[in-house]
Amino acid sequence: MDEFSRLSLHVPEPAVRPGDQPDFSNVKIPKAGSVPRPEVDVEPEAIRDLAYSIIRVLNREGEAVGPWAGLLSDEELLTGLRHMMLLRAFDARMLMAQRQGKTSFYMQHLGEEAVSCAFRRALRRGDMNFPTYRQAGLLIADDYPMVDMMNQIFSNELDPCHGRQLPVMYTSKEHGFFTISGNLATQYVQAVGWAMASAIKNDTRIAAGWIGDGSTAESDFHSSLVFASTYKAPVILNIVNNQWAISTFQGIARGGSGTFAARGLGFGIPALRVDGNDYLAVYAVARWAAERARRNLGPTLIEYVTYRVGAHSTSDDPSAYRPKTESEAWPLGDPVLRLKKHLILRGVWSDERHAQAEAEIMDQVIQAQKEAESHGTLHAGGRPSVRDIFEGVYAEMPPHIRRQRQKAGY
């Protein structure tokens, strides 16, 4: 007999499944204000701890505390609250529109609103995001017209993408929002390329890449880190860890050790983890990373620790793979309620004003939806021309596509 017994494969499993008691005891939450704020030119080696902790500003009482606090005025915070509420109302209406058959599918942000809304405020006009499908907050917080987003969701006659692109996969060069691909992780490395180009041209603009926790397993993620660290690209590499990749828990992409942020350490990229449900913390960390990039100090990797409260998409049923009450047990709370509490504590907001704002915002979204619907929805009313199928494959239409367009009768 051999001295070794037979091998067996380890397949990671989440702590709980439907029917079990939600359990986040493994998510170690440090006290708000307890994580230091290093200088932006710090040596990555000196801040390895930040890849394992969680930067937080808002404490349980709603106070902003610690070295990452104090960057935003009351006015700016009220604007941030409004953006998150707008995104939430937008999601609610579009989810309903999908249920009514007005569009094929929709993906909501519930619970993750702070990540994209706060991040956008740390960038400048001209900077470029390479987002995935759960960062519509980047557009909302940059005042992109909601009606245009809806026109695309409804694939109507005013759809900016002429019916060619999936509902939530927006594009806007003007608003620093690169056209979204359905192929996960591909755009992470494109963000690095954009940032390298900005450096090649001695520009002042920076780029930001976006990826989910599950998608960090794609090889593009690793290519991105190689290029970003090799050329010290002025890029912010964002990982939104919302615990789930459709039905697959984050341990499958990560294994049982380390954190997603820690993946940057081997590349010498400063890596920070931040409370993704804390608008102030997200903004503070994003601004720190943006300043590093702008000072030509290179890339920063940020992991946003958050929770996907809603379903993955309108095609998903999360109750089939996780406890129904898991989102309520999430220890970092609701980003909208946390910022609301903070603003009330500061004396610039109240429950009444909040309720009133909620009603106003919903009204605004409904008005936008009415306008968009007047130009058609997926199966009714105005729609893009069939001719649009053939346009825009190339700058100039080659003869073979022209022949096919004529064959189709256009």
């Binding site: 470029m128 390479f130 900016p160 993408c161 002429h162 060619r164 692109q165 996969m169 594009t171 806007s172 060069k173 690169f178 056209t179 691909s181 359905g182 192929n183 591909t186 755009q187 992470y188 490395v189 494109q190 963000a191 690095v192 390329g193 954009w194 940032a195 390298m196 180009a197 900005s198 450096a199 090649i200 041209k201 780029a207 090889s219 593009d220 690793h222 290519s223 991105s224 190689v226 290029f227 090799t230 825009g392 494959v393 190339y394 700058a395 080659p398 003869p399 073979h400 596509i401």
Partner: protein
């Protein structure tokens, strides 16, 4: 005019383009300091600095992915994949991203990149240094695909590719880098310096993408070829004495259908030649087009001469590579049918 090899012509195209347009950047594995394993980029880093011509990590997805990002910014990256065989890790970036960005963003973002790569066999590269993956690109709407067969075209077409507003795959038959190759491996290669198409203007000129060239006029049968096979087809025509018309496609996508149709309508017979494997190869597309557009003029079935449906072998590459003997037999077959 200067006498140039295809390597020098390709280099000259990048040099001219970089000199004219500050937005042109060149990078890839070993491309910067060393000048590339085939020396196509030699001297460019010294001339334009290391932020315009540089070495990349061994990550094809990274090379093409960052090029796409640079193009979105406004640069015109011309990147090298060291061998066409290694473009597969970047295939996702090419097909799902580069090819689609203009379409899906309705022109909000575009992707003017060039991806250069040495292709084809005949240098004892074995199965991982000899592939001809053109059909994998021609199947992708949004890409353009070019295969030059001589230094003059290589330079003019590469300049067009770099100036093109859309992504272009530029496949360089490495067997042609130093001289025209007629398939007779036992004979020494005649250098480009002895060939009229090795006479290349030193400055800027361009050749339109999508236009074929008739390399040999003939009235008995049309041979459609590209890259190395153009020279093999010419040799086969000479050696059999058959009055063949040889078309050099130069661009596979978009394709010059008009020149093909005119020629086959005239000759009534057609032979298609390529190095890539037979099944689902680009030749299938060519035969289908000839059938669709020239059916009533055809006097014989169209014949295909291609590599075999196997990986490219190392020791038997001359039995794999379609040489003048095989093309000659196909010409006879087309004539006798």
């Amino acid at each position: 005019m200067a006498r140039m090899t295809m390597i020098e012509a390709v280099r000259s195209a990048m040099d001219v383009s970089m000199g004219r347009d500050e937005d042109v950047v060149v990078f890839g594995e070993d491309v910067g300091y060393f000048g590339g394993v085939f020396r196509c980029t030699q001297g460019l880093q010294a001339k334009y600095g290391k932020t315009r011509c540089f070495d990349a990590p061994i990550s094809e997805a990274g090379i093409v992915g960052t090029a796409i990002g640079m193009a979105a910014y406004g640069l015109k990256p011309c990147v090298e994949i060291q061998f066409a065989d290694y473009m597969y890790p970047a295939y996702d970036q090419l097909t799902q991203e580069a090819a689609r960005i203009r379409y899906r963003s309705n022109g909000d973002f575009t992707c003017p990149i060039v991806v250069r790569m040495p292709t084809g066999g005949g240098i004892f590269g074995g199965q991982t240094h000899s592939q001809s993956p053109e059909a994998l690109f021609t199947h992708v709407c949004g890409l353009k695909v070019i295969v030059p067969s001589n230094p003059y075209d290589a330079k003019g077409l590469l300049i067009s590719a770099i100036e093109d507003p859309d992504p272009v795959m530029f496949l360089e038959p490495k067997r042609l880098y130093n001289g025209p190759f007629d398939g007779h491996h036992e004979r020494p290669v005649t250098p480009w310096s002895k060939h009229e198409l090795g006479d290349v203007p030193e400055g800027h000129y361009s050749i339109p993408i999508g236009k074929a060239e008739i390399r040999r006029k003939g009235s008995a049968v049309t041979v459609i070829a590209y890259g190395t096979m153009v020279h093999v087809a010419l040799a086969a025509a000479e050696e059999t004495g058959i009055d063949a018309e040889v078309i050099d496609l130069r661009s596979l996508l978009p394709l010059d259908l008009e020149t093909i149709v005119q020629s086959v309508t005239k000759t009534g017979r057609c032979v298609v030649v390529h190095e890539a494997t037979l099944t689902s190869g680009f030749g299938g597309e060519l035969v289908a087009l000839v059938q669709e557009h020239c059916f009533y003029h055809l006097e014989a079935p169209v014949v295909r001469v291609t590599g075999w449906d196997t990986p490219y072998p190392h020791a038997q590459e001359w039995d794999y590579f379609p040489g003048p003997a095989r093309v000659g037999r196909a010409l006879t077959e087309a004539m006798e049918a």
